[in-house]
Amino acid sequence: MLKKPLLYSEEAFIIGAEHLFGGVLMAIEKSYAEINAKIKAGKAVVVTAEELISMVDEKGVEKTTEEVDVVTTGTFAPMCSSGVFLNLGHTTPKMKMHQVWLNNVPAYGGIAAVDAYLGATALPDNDPLNNNYPGEFKYGGGHVIEDLVARKPVRFRATGYGTDCYPRREIETNITLDEINEAILFNPRNAYQSYNCGVNLTSRTVYTYLGMLKPNLGNAHYSTSGQLSPLLKDPNFNTIGVGTRIFLGGGTGYVVWNGTQHFPEFLQIDSDGEQKGPAGGTLSVLGDLKQMKPEWLIGTSYLGYGATLSVGIGIPIPMLNEEVCRNAAVKDKDLYAPVIDYGEAYPNAKPGYMKLVSFAELKSGKIIVNGKEVPTAPLSSYPKAKKIAAQLKDWVAEGEFTLGEPSQLLPSADAGLKGKPLKG
């Protein structure tokens, strides 16, 4: 008899505390297991980040969080820090492959006997590079990866110095993706959270990894899918971490670590303390190249700069709670890119930026810089980003693609990670 009133009062206290701390009686919390059970049953509600924006406009955050289980994002853009680990298989007699080329593009052979890493920006030994400025860089590592994925035969050449256990010294043959043991796409830095908008303040044309920038603010180039971009939709890394299962190059991949140069920050803090403009986060991603499709891994060349690989990435965001929903529903007008001069400031590592522009402004086709109207253009394909988000949505909705619960989340802006300059 003594206990009962106490229990009631405890309950009253707990309810009171919820009012006090959260202001919400029934805060929505979903677990990965619950969402995955719904996916497996074919009952998960999946929307793209674009669709989520209209839903939140219509129904509000609370109702949308309740209704939606997964939000899909997408991006398709050149991502230079990409490449593939290959295991070529053993020859007879055996060979320790010291130097390795695929279609005349050198791969790194400084790992085990028949393993190699082909980087996206590697160029053929006889490429004229920028000797005939601006160089064309027609074919590089990214193009070899595209050819492999397209199941085209690739000319493989290797030399070795000969050892007692690996006596053979050279080989030249054709290989295809299906004939070799493994091809693991492992991209150490992909999916930049936000990226610079490049302009050129000098009086000469510059050829950059952001494309051709015309003199005297002739154009402005950017490379982020804005409101569809994976890391802009999870700005605090509440859901993306080691083990997150993703769409990678048309197949299934994983986030395996933070990317190199993962220095997440907020570009702007408003007078009311609101943090805006998440930027600087990156991902390391990995997946089986044999599952991937040439539509989503495309060899790419930048005049006067080099060769690279355009990569399609889509990340599903589990609707764990209202904060995740609110972040995933942020619009182009509230996401920002810093405008940076690639004529003088960038090459000379001058810190800072000229101004912030929203992705809504960038997508409108013009921005104002130094009082001048500057035409804008993207390097990242929004139509392809949309297609990735839609494809991933179908996979999840059809129960084929469950969520990978991260074994650890990636550092957020709170970690205060900063880039260190190289002295010398």
């Binding site: 398709f76 853009a77 050149p78 601006p134 064309e136 027609k138 494309g211 051709m212 015309k214 005297n216 002739g218 154009n219 402005a220 180039h221 495309i298 060899g299 790419t300 060349s301 930048y302 005049l303 355009s310 997508k363 409108s364 086709g365 035409p375 804008t376 253009a377 993207p378 390097l379 990242s380 394909s381 929004y382 139509p383 392809k384």
Partner: protein, 133 residues
């Protein structure tokens, strides 16, 4: 003598010079402008036909003024399968032949606006723009 079709590209510094007038007055050429995109302080392009005995000297004069002169014998074609609709060409194309539609952000190519300047064939990151003779 049949007319010669040429494409001219001139940069912002000479966009306000009466260059075409000189072709007529100094070289006695008959000039027929087919397309032109000329704005003060911006790079410009022009496609035209010229007829006249002094057309070689006329073209020399243009080159001497810093105008890039190409003979129009080619067509630029977009390989639709190869194009990823990234948009990298759209702020470079001087005639507006390559442009984005909004909000889809799809890249379109209007060959009627193309002045065959070849810029897109060089800067397209996936080499989707091709010159055909």
């Amino acid at each position: 003598m049949s007319p010669k079709r040429i494409v001219l590209r001139f940069d912002a510094t000479i966009a306000d010079q009466p260059i075409i007038y000189r072709l007529v007055s100094d070289f006695g050429l008959v000039v027929n402008i087919i397309k032109a995109n000329v704005n003060p302080q911006k790079e410009g392009t022009m496609v035209m036909e010229i007829t006249g005995e002094n057309n070689k000297q006329g073209l020399e004069y243009l080159r001497g003024q810093g105008v890039q002169v190409h003979t129009l014998t080619e067509n630029i074609i977009r390989n639709e399968e190869q194009c990823t609709s990234c948009g990298a060409c759209t702020a470079i194309c001087p005639s507006g032949a390559l442009y984005l539609t909004r909000p889809s952000m799809e890249v379109h190519f209007d060959s009627d606006q193309c002045v065959v300047c070849h810029l897109c064939t060089k800067i397209c990151p996936v080499r989707a723009m091709e010159a055909h003779f």
